[in-house]
C-alpha cells in the first residue's frame, strides 16, 4: 500500500541519514521513531554470535591464470550483465606494473566470515545470515538502503561486498544461493558459477571454516603433487 511504502521510505531515509552522518545527529521532530526490531538489532550488534556458514570458497593463487573468467561468470549469473566491476569475486592482476609471480595475481574472495562484520554492521538486517541457504552471509537487495556500512566494515582489502552505483545497493558473494541467471542449484549445498567456470580448478567449495589465520586457510594447495609443488613457491602471507 502506498501509505506503508511512504512510511517505509521515510523510515529508511531517516535510518540512512543517521548512519551516514553518525549517531548524535538529532532526528527531526515529528519523524518516526526507530522501529523496535531494528533497535533490537542495533543493541545486539556487539554481543551476537553467528551460526557458521556451511560453505566457503577456498582458492589456490598459484594456479590461477588471472583470466578473470570467474568474474564474468559471477556478474552474468547474478546481474544478467558481464561486469567485472560488479563481480563478487575479484581477481586482480598487477598488469601493467609487473609484479613477479606469485604475487602478480591477487584473488579476493568473500570469506563467509565466522564473525561477519558486514552482517554485524548492517542497520536493516539486509546483510544477514541466511538459515535457508546454509547460513551463507547474504544481502537482501529489497532491504538494502545503500548506506555502505558493509563496505567499510569488511576487514578485507579490497572490501568484498560490491557497490552497485546504478542500483545504489551493495551485493556480496552468497555462493550463488540466489543468482537469477545461474542454471544450477547454488548455495553452500550447490554449485557456484565461478567454481564451475574455472578452467584450472583454482576455486573450490568446502564445508568447514578454513583456518582463520590471515589468508593462509583460504589460499591452499588445491592440486599439487610433491613434484609440482617444487615448481610453485608458497606465497608469503602478506
Amino acid at each position: 500500500m502506498a501509505e506503508s511504502k511512504e512510511a517505509d521510505d521515510r523510515q529508511r531515509s531517516i535510518l540512512r541519514r543517521d548512519f551516514l552522518f553518525g549517531s548524535g545527529v538529532a532526528i527531526a521532530a515529528g519523524a518516526l521513531a526507530v522501529p523496535a526490531p531494528v533497535a533490537d538489532t542495533l543493541t545486539q550488534m556487539a554481543t551476537r554470535s553467528y551460526a557458521a556458514s556451511t560453505g566457503y570458497l577456498v582458492y589456490d593463487s598459484r594456479l590461477c591464470l588471472g583470466c578473470q573468467s570467474c568474474m564474468y561468470a559471477c556478474s552474468m549469473a547474478h546481474e544478467g550483465v558481464a561486469s567485472p566491476s560488479l563481480s563478487r569475486i575479484q581477481i586482480i592482476k598487477d598488469a601493467p606494473s609487473f609484479t613477479k609471480y606469485p604475487y602478480d595475481v591477487a584473488m579476493a574472495v568473500c570469506r563467509q566470515c565466522v564473525t561477519p562484520l558486514c552482517v554485524q554492521n548492517c542497520p536493516t538486517g539486509a546483510c544477514h545470515v541466511d538459515e535457508a541457504h546454509g547460513n551463507v552471509r547474504m544481502i537482501d537487495q529489497a532491504k538494502c538502503i545503500g548506506c555502505q556500512r558493509c563496505l567499510a566494515a569488511c576487514p578485507q582489502r579490497p572490501h568484498r561486498p560490491v557497490w552497485n552505483p546504478a542500483k545504489r545497493k551493495s551485493a556480496k558473494c552468497n555462493l550463488c544461493a540466489d543468482a537469477p541467471f545461474w542454471s544450477q542449484a547454488g548455495g553452500p549445498a550447490g554449485h557456484q558459477a565461478c567454481v564451475e567456470t574455472c578452467a584450472v580448478k583454482a576455486l573450490k567449495l568446502v564445508t568447514e571454516p578454513p583456518a582463520q589465520l590471515d589468508i593462509a586457510g583460504y589460499d591452499v594447495n588445491l592440486a599439487l603433487t610433491p613434484a609440482l609443488e617444487k615448481l610453485a613457491p608458497k606465497p608469503a602471507v602478506k
Binding site: D60, R62, L63, L65, G66, C67, Q68, S69, M71, Y72, A73, S75, M76, A77, E79, G80, V81, A82, S83, P84, S85, I92, K93, D94, A95, P96, S97, F98, T99, K100, Y101, P102, D104, A106, A108, R157, P158, H159, W163, P165, F181, W182, S183, A193, E196, T197, A199, V200, K201, V206, V220, N221, L222, A223, L224, T225, P226, A227, L228, L231
Partner: protein, 706 residues
C-alpha cells in the same frame, strides 16, 4: 542492435585533435573486429579517393583497434583486439594488413563503453590517448617519448587517477569502481623511430607482432592508448552465456595438467601464457624463442628485451629457434631457423664476410657480430634501430628493404638464403600446411592460423584413425561439407592438380579457412588457439595431476576420474554459434556466419585491389619452389590421397610448382567469383554480398573483375 555491442566506436583525428563517435550500428553487418575495421577503412581512406593508399606512414592511413560483440561477456578467448590499416612491414609495398593481440585491452574498451578506436592523421607532437569510461582526452606524451614500454605503462598508471595499492583497493572512476589497472597498448623506442619491425605492446608480454603497426603508431606520434572501464556488457541470454562457457570448458578441456605459474588472457580456457616468467609474466611462445631456446631464464630475459623495446619477434628473429628441414639445400644445414628475421640476416651477412666493422656493409655502431647471442648485443641492436644510428637506419626498414638498400635482395632471394614466402612475412608454418601458404599469398602475409594443425598425424600416434579424422573434418567445415579431398596434401604429379594441393578441393579448404578466420577469429575475435577446434583429444573434465595426488588428502575428496575417450568430435562449430547466439540473440546458422566471413574476405580483397593488387603479383619467393620449402616434420605431416589410398605422410620433402600454383590461383579465383585474369572481385560477387557501393567505386576506377 543485437546484444554484446557497446554501441559506439571512438574516432580520433590526431592531426586536428578532434574526438568524435561512430555509431557501431552502421557497421553491424560486418560483425565486429577486423570486419568493421576494414569497412571503416574503406569508408574513410579508400572511398574518398584522395589518397593512393601506398604509404603506411601517411597521415591519411586509418588504423583501427577493434573489439567484437563477444568481448567482455565471458565468452573465452573472444577478447582479442583486431588491428588493421596499411601496414609498414609488408614488402615490396605497404599492404592493407592486420595484426591482433590478446590480454585485456579489448575487453576493457568494451567495459568503458567503446566497440573500438579509429585513428586518423598524424599528431605534430607525441601524444597518448586517455580513455576513462566515456571521457576521452588526448594527452601530451613528450615526457613518455623515449621510454620503454614497461616504464611507459607504469607512468600512465600513475597518471590515470593516481596509483592504487595493488590488490587492495577499489578505485572510484566517476560513478563506477574497479580493482583493475588501466589497460594500455603502446610502443617502445623502436616504434618511435618508425621502424618497420616495431610491434604494439600491451601489458608485460602481449604483443601485436605482424604488420609493423608499432612503426605506424610512431609515424602518428602516438605513444599509447590507455583505457579504464567500469561498465557492463549485456547479452541476449545471460544464462546461456554462462552455461555455454561451462559446457565448453567441462566437455572439451584443453588443459591436460594444471601447472602452477601459467596464465591466460581475459577470459580464457587455455593456459598458453607463462605467469612465472618475467615480472608481470605474460610471456608467450615466439617471444620466448627469440633468445636462448631451452634455457628458461635466458628466454625470459630475451623476451623482456623484445617487449621493452617493442619489437616483433618474428620480424627481428635471430634464428635461435631451429626447425628441421631435411631437404634444405646448401648453404642451409638440415636445421633452419624457424623464422628468418632481421637478426638472422645480419648474422648471415657477417658469416659470408660482407658485413662487419669497415666491411662492405659497415656494422657500426653494433658490437662485434660474433657476440650476437649476448643480451648486451641484442639491446645494442635495438638501440641502433631506435636511434637510426649507422646500420640501424637501414635495419629499421626490415630485412627485405635492407637487402634492397644493400643491393643484395635479388641474389639472396634467388639463392634461397632469404626464406620469405610472400609479402615480406617471415616463414611460419607455410608448408606442408599449404592453406597457410596460399592464405598468405592471397592476403598480405603470415596468416598466423594454426587451426588446421589438427590434420597432423602419423599412423599409430593418434587415438583416432585417419578415416575418423577425415569424417570429422569434412562434416564440420560448413558450408563445404562432404568433401574429404579438401584435406589431401598430395603435391606431386596429376594427383596434386585433381585432388591435391592445386585442386578445386584445396581451393575450398583455403576459402573455408579465410572465411572462418575473417569472421570468427578476426571479427568475433576468438583467439585461434581456442577456436576453431575440430577434435577432442581428452575426455572428461580437467584432470588435476593425479598420479600421486595430494588432492584427496588435502580436501578429503576423491580425485576426478577421467573417462576413456571414444568421441573425438571437438566443439567447432557448435561452440562458436552457441556463444554468438547467447550474446547477440541473432538466430543465424553457422553457414550464415561464414557468409559474413566471405563478405569480409572480399572486402579486404577489394582494398588491396584498390592498392594495385593483381594476379601477376601473387607469386611466392623462389625458396617455396625448391626442396627445403617444407619444414618441421614434428608438426605431424598431413593426410595424402594418392593411388586411391589415404595415408598420413610427413611431407618433409614437399615444395611447390609454379604451374601448379597458377592452377590453384585459377581454381581459387573461380570459386570466389574473382576475375580469372586479374584476381579482382566481380560485380556479381560483390553485389551478391551486399557490397554494391564498393562495386560501383571499383568500377569507376577500372578495378572490377570480369
Amino acid at each position: 542492435m543485437t546484444g554484446g555491442y557497446a554501441g559506439k566506436i571512438l574516432r580520433v583525428n590526431l592531426t586536428n585533435k578532434s574526438i568524435s563517435t561512430i555509431d557501431t550500428a552502421r557497421y553491424e553487418e560486418f560483425g565486429g573486429g577486423f570486419g568493421m575495421g576494414a569497412a571503416i577503412f574503406w569508408d574513410l581512406a579508400v572511398a574518398p579517393g584522395q589518397w593512393d593508399l601506398q604509404d603506411a606512414f601517411d597521415p591519411r592511413n586509418v588504423i583501427s583497434l577493434m573489439s567484437g560483440p563477444l568481448a567482455a561477456t565471458g565468452a573465452p578467448a573472444a577478447g582479442r583486439t583486431s588491428v588493421c590499416g596499411v601496414a609498414s612491414s609488408t614488402y615490396p609495398t605497404d599492404q592493407f594488413y592486420r595484426t591482433n593481440f590478446g590480454g585485456r585491452f579489448a575487453t576493457t574498451l568494451k567495459l568503458a563503453g567503446w566497440d573500438g578506436v579509429v585513428l586518423e592523421g598524424n599528431a605534430d607532437k607525441p601524444v597518448w590517448i586517455n580513455i576513462i569510461d566515456d571521457k576521452v582526452t588526448i594527452e601530451d606524451a613528450r615526457s613518455l617519448w623515449g621510454l620503454d614500454t614497461w616504464e611507459t605503462q607504469n607512468r600512465i598508471v600513475s597518471m590515470v587517477g593516481g596509483r592504487t595499492r595493488f590488490g587492495e583497493e577499489w578505485q572510484q572512476i566517476g560513478e563506477g569502481y574497479t580493482t583493475a589497472r588501466p589497460q594500455i597498448v603502446c610502443i617502445g623506442p623502436v616504434g618511435e623511430a618508425r621502424a618497420r619491425v616495431a610491434a604494439l605492446i600491451h601489458g608485460s608480454g602481449v604483443t601485436g607482432r605482424q604488420g609493423g603497426f608499432g612503426g605506424v603508431f610512431g609515424a602518428k606520434n602516438l605513444k599509447a592508448i590507455s583505457v579504464t572501464g567500469t561498465g557492463s556488457i549485456g547479452a541476449a541470454d545471460p544464462k546461456g552465456v554462462v552455461d555455454t562457457r561451462i559446457w565448453h570448458v567441462q566437455k572439451f578441456p584443453r588443459i591436460k595438467t594444471v601447472l602452477p605459474g601459467t596464465a591466460a588472457c581475459m577470459p580464457c580456457i587455455n593456459d598458453d601464457r607463462i605467469r612465472d616468467s618475467y615480472p608481470g609474466g605474460e610471456a608467450m611462445c615466439d617471444d620466448t624463442y627469440w633468445y636462448g631456446v631451452g634455457n628458461k631464464e635466458l628466454q625470459m630475459k630475451g623476451a623482456e628485451i623484445l617487449m621493452r623495446w617493442g619489437v616483433s619477434s618474428f620480424n627481428s628473429a635471430f634464428g635461435n629457434f631451429k626447425v628441421r628441414a631435411p631437404e634444405a639445400p646448401p648453404p642451409a644445414a638440415k636445421d633452419l631457423p624457424g623464422g628468418e628475421g632481421l637478426g638472422w640476416y645480419v648474422k648471415y651477412l657477417y658469416q659470408i664476410g660482407v658485413l662487419g666493422p669497415g666491411k662492405q656493409i659497415d656494422s657500426s655502431p653494433l658490437p662485434p657480430i660474433d657476440q650476437c647471442d649476448e643480451l648486451e648485443f641484442r639491446e645494442a641492436f635495438f638501440n641502433a634501430i631506435a636511434k637510426r644510428a649507422g646500420i640501424g637506419d637501414v635495419l629499421a626498414e626490415g630485412t627485405l628493404h635492407a637487402a634492397k638498400r644493400w643491393g643484395r635482395l635479388d641474389q639472396d632471394v634467388q639463392s634461397g638464403a632469404l626464406r620469405y614466402p610472400a609479402w615480406g612475412s617471415t616463414y611460419h608454418w607455410n608448408l606442408p600446411s599449404v592453406e597457410w601458404a596460399f592464405g598468405g599469398l592471397l592476403g598480405a602475409g603470415d596468416v598466423v592460423w594454426h587451426v588446421l594443425g589438427a590434420l597432423g598425424g602419423k599412423e599409430g600416434h593418434r587415438p583416432y584413425t585417419l578415416d575418423t579424422l577425415l569424417e570429422i573434418m569434412s562434416s564440420k567445415t560448413i558450408p563445404y561439407t562432404g568433401d574429404p579431398y579438401m584435406f589431401s596434401f598430395a603435391w606431386k604429379g596429376e594427383e596434386a592438380k585433381t585432388t591435391g594441393i592445386y585442386s578445386e578441393h584445396k581451393a575450398k579448404l583455403v576459402a573455408w579457412s579465410r572465411h572462418y578466420a575473417d569472421f570468427w577469429n578476426e571479427s568475433m575475435a576468438f583467439c585461434e588457439w581456442v577456436l576453431a577446434t575440430f577434435l577432442k583429444i581428452r575426455s572428461g573434465p580437467v584432470k588435476l595431476k593425479t598420479q600421486e595426488s595430494d588432492f584427496s588428502e588435502v580436501m578429503g575428496i576423491d580425485p576426478v576420474k577421467a573417462e576413456p575417450n571414444t568421441d573425438f568430435r571437438g566443439p567447432t562449430p557448435e561452440a562458436e554459434l552457441r556463444y554468438y547466439q547467447a550474446v547477440t540473440g541473432n538466430k543465424v546458422t553457422f553457414a550464415d556466419t561464414m557468409e559474413v566471413g566471405r563478405k569480409i574476405w572480399n572486402l579486404e580483397r577489394t582494398i588491396r585491389v584498390m592498392q594495385g593488387r593483381h594476379r601477376d603479383q601473387e607469386k611466392f619467393y623462389p625458396c617455396m619452389y625448391r626442396p627445403g620449402a617444407s619444414q618441421a616434420p614434428e608438426l605431424g605431416g598431413r593426410p595424402v590421397y594418392e593411388n586411391g589410398k589415404w595415408s598420413w605422410q610427413p611431407l618433409t620433402d614437399m615444395y611447390l610448382d609454379e604451374a601448379g600454383v597458377e592452377l590453384f590461383k585459377t581454381n581459387f579465383y573461380k570459386l570466389e567469383g574473382w576475375g580469372v585474369d586479374t584476381g579482382w572481385p566481380t560485380r556479381k560477387t560483390l553485389e551478391g554480398l551486399g557490397l554494391k557501393k564498393i562495386a560501383d567505386t571499383m568500377a569507376s576506377r577500372g578495378r572490377l573483375g570480369v
